[in-house]
Structures are given as structure tokens and as C-alpha cells.
């Protein structure tokens, strides 16, 4: 009996440390006062509504959404064939290729952002949006390859062979047999990529230009000049958004298998 209580206490304390701050943000955003405090000075929803009125938040939210959706799609378009080839064929140097594709996870984001800006974006005169798009795609690519590989490895190869024997071309076998079977892996890769890209800061730090900023960068800038609860409210809203996505994914796909 004593032991269960001790173990409950340990779990509770750990979770309090990990999740507690998040509840504080929710309540700090509910404040009716004009400066950040906890417990909040009276309750109101005004800061949660105020967030939608800030023009720069609207713009940066749109940009972040665009980067997260299109960047992840683009990463999947080049990532799925790569994952397929790595899993199915004995390509020479497969390990090296895996390492190259995984590099964006290993190298710290701030270094990637700076390097891209200085040696690619400035010399080639890319627009800020294009630079951010390429960087986010490269960042998500390793996750796409890894998650899709994992789900390809669980797929038997003989069903594909059967399709070819029954008269499918290789491409048809892939689109009619393989693709439907790894659908949930692709969806999981998309969600993981989306969340990673949406929350990404260091890569975008140097690449963001005047007027073109991702939402997290915009929030960082906003925090430096004002001390009102709107960032708390926005943080809480974003957290709910990610939680909603992950919750649905977990219920429908068993998402945590892939993370």
C-alpha cells in the first residue's frame, strides 16, 4: 500500500513539473488585467480574442501554416521514394545516404539557418518565403524518410510481387498495393512533420526577413516589447491545436508507435 502511494507521488510530481507550466499559461491568458500575472487579476476571455486582432500574428500564422503543410508535403514527395528504395533495394552506400538524409536532425537548426542564409539565399537572391520553404522541407525530410521506412519494413514484399505477377507494372504495384498499405505511416509522418515544422524556431531565426516571419519568431519578438497576457493566450491556443491534432492522430492511427 505504502509503495503504491510513493510511486503515485513520484509520477504526480514529475507530471506536475512537465505539464503544470502549461496550465499556468492557460490561466495567465484568462486574465482581465493588462499585465502578465498568476493568479490572473480577474477572469476574462479578452486576451484570447485579442490575439486574433493582431495583424502580424495573422500574417505569421498564415506563413507558418503554409510552411508546415506545403513543406511537409514536399518532403513526403521526395521522401517516400527514398524510403522505398532504401528499404527494398540493396543500394550501394545505403548507409551513407541514410546519414546524409538524417543530417538535418543532427546539425543544430541555428547553424543550418545561418549557413543557408549566407551561402545560398543571399548569393542566389532567394526570396525570404522560398528560403524558409526550402529550409522547412529539408528539416522535415529526415522524419518523413524514417517514419515511412518504419511502416514499409512492416509490409510484406510478396504482395507487391504478386501484383506484378498478376499484370501490374512496377508503378501500378506501388500505387495500388504499397501506397494504400503504408497510408497510416505517411499520415503519421505528415503529422510529425507538421508539428515539427510549425514549432520550429532556430532554423527560421536567421532566415526570417522584414515582414516575413514565422509565428514562433513573431511571438518571440512580441514578447520582447510587451508584457501583456496575449502571448500566453496565443501559446495556450497553439498548444490546444497541437494537442487536438495529436489526440486525433493517436485515436485513429496509434500515432505514438511512430514517434
Amino acid at each position: 500500500m505504502g509503495k503504491t502511494w510513493a510511486s503515485r507521488l513520484i509520477i504526480f510530481t514529475t507530471l506536475l513539473f512537465l505539464i503544470g507550466p502549461f496550465f499556468i499559461i492557460i490561466f495567465a491568458g484568462l486574465s482581465a488585467g493588462s499585465s502578465l500575472s498568476f493568479p490572473p487579476q480577474g477572469l476574462s476571455l479578452k486576451w484570447y480574442l485579442a490575439v486574433f486582432e493582431v495583424e502580424s500574428f495573422r500574417q505569421s500564422f498564415t506563413l507558418s501554416m503554409f510552411l508546415a503543410v506545403c513543406g511537409t508535403l514536399c518532403a513526403l514527395i521526395i521522401g517516400v521514394p527514398a524510403a522505398y528504395a532504401i528499404c527494398r533495394y540493396k543500394i550501394p552506400g545505403a548507409e551513407t545516404i541514410k546519414l546524409i538524409v538524417a543530417a538535418p536532425i543532427i546539425v543544430p537548426g541555428i547553424i543550418v539557418g545561418l549557413a543557408l542564409l549566407r551561402y545560398l539565399v543571399v548569393p542566389l537572391n532567394f526570396t525570404v518565403t522560398l528560403a524558409l520553404f526550402l529550409a522547412h522541407t529539408a528539416l522535415v525530410l529526415p522524419y518523413a524518410v524514417r517514419v515511412v521506412s518504419a511502416s514499409l519494413e512492416n509490409l510484406r514484399t510478396d504482395i507487391e510481387e504478386a501484383a506484378v505477377l498478376l499484370g501490374c507494372t512496377r508503378l501500378q504495384a506501388f500505387s495500388k498495393v504499397v501506397l494504400p498499405n503504408i497510408r497510416s505511416g505517411i499520415l503519421a509522418a505528415f503529422i510529425l512533420g507538421f508539428v515539427t515544422s510549425f514549432n520550429q524556431v532556430p532554423v527560421s531565426l536567421f532566415l526570417s526577413g522584414p515582414g516575413v516571419r514565422t509565428l514562433p519568431i513573431d511571438m518571440l519578438d512580441y514578447m520582447e516589447i510587451t508584457y501583456d497576457p496575449s502571448v500566453a493566450a496565443l501559446s495556450a491556443l497553439l498548444a490546444f491545436l497541437s494537442m487536438g491534432i495529436v489526440f486525433i492522430a493517436e485515436k485513429t492511427l496509434g500515432f505514438s508507435r511512430y514517434v
Binding site: T14, I25, I78, V112, L114, P202, P216, L238
Partner: protein, 261 residues
Amino acid sequence: MVLPAAVFTAALFLLPVGILLSEGFKVGGEWTLAGYADFFSKPLNRTVFFRTLKLGLLVALVSAIVGYASAFCIVNLEPKQRGRIFGLVILPLMISPVARTYAWIVILGRTGIVNDAIVGLGLSDTPIRFLFTETAVFLGLLQLFMPLMIISLISSMENLPKDVIPAARVLGASWLQVFTRVILPLTREGLVLGGTLVFTGALTAYITPAILGGSKVLMLETLLYQKVNVSNDFVSAGIIATILIVMCFGANVVLRRIAKA
């Protein structure tokens, strides 16, 4: 089929990053190590380097201790409850680091919860400065990366045969011995994986030191940002980038060795 992915990554990643790293070895157009000597001769740079290393190790160590305790308790729960708690542990990983770090301002700020309590209880007449201290950065990093350690430990503890611990107890081992002789060796891989993730994560975090440390408690990442944006010093930027990458790879290699030994 792998070509597009490999070429894309090589062109967008390896090439620019490679050039950036090489900048650290060039001073005035000549290949030299003088930049490194110069970099480490400045006390501020040395302080930042050792602070980053220290905080990284400390965060990894504390999350390992807390991680073992909570992973052990979580693994012993009933399956249904375990799934629920596991979900709560990975939940923070999905929330924006900006949001998670921002919470610490509310907690540790001048009018935050901790200071309200301290002043309210009469422990101090004036609010104590917690923000922009190493403690704040440490707490922020710990909260950010501990879930990674707990997840790795849980998955390696799930593979632990159920009867080894009772067996060791029956044979007369104390709990400390059970931990050092049975649990630790059998979960070493999880510890190493978690340790690598937490340590490299803490080294390369930008948001937490930027918000909670500011320019008072610089870490390598925030120093890099300053070198570029304030002083336009690309030799130092290249050097810091190299140091960070070497430290991350070094941690990977060393820890993997330990896991195998």
C-alpha cells in the same frame, strides 16, 4: 529514387553548413587555427563554453535520476493507466517550445508565482531575481527535454524480464544493489539514447537560453546569434558552429561506446 532526397539535402544542407564550418579556420583569407586560439583566449567565450557544457551535463544527469524513478513507477502501472500516463509524458513534446518556455516567465518573473509566495510569506521584502539566471535556464531546459529521457527509459524497462528484480531481492540484494547491478546494466541502452537526446538537445536549444537567460546568461547558441547579428563576426560563428557539432557527435560516439562496453 533516393537521388532527389540525397541531392536536396546535400545542396541545401551539407554544402552551406560545410562552408560555414570552414570559416572558423580562415582568418583574413588564410587557413589557420589562429581563430580558435583567439576565440578561447577571451574569458567570455570560455565562460559560455563551459557553462553550456555544464548545463548540458547537469540537465542530462538530473533527467536521468528523475527519469529512472518515474519510468520505474510508470512501467509498473496497469497497462491502461500506463498508456494514459505515457500520453501525458509525450504531450509536452508536441507543444511549442516558445509556449513552454514562456510559462517559466510567469512562474519565475518579478510578479510571478514564486516571488509572490516569497514576498507574501515574508521571506524577503523585495522580489528575488530568478529570470536571467542559470537556474532559470536549467529549469527550462530540464522541463523541455526530460520527456525524451523518460520515454527512452520506459521503452528499455519494458524489455526488462519481469522476475529479475524479485529474484535479486530474494537473493539478498539491497535496493541500491538491485539498481546498480540489475536495472542499470539492463537498461543501459535506453539511458544512453535518452542521455544523448537530452544532452545534445540542451546544447543546441536556442529559445530557452534566449528567453530565460538573455544576454546575462549566454549559451553557445545565443552567443552565436550575437556574434552574427551584433558584431558580424563570422569567424567566431564558424568556430561556435564547429564546437556545437563536434560536441553533439562526440556525445553520440562516446555514449555509444559506453553502452557497448
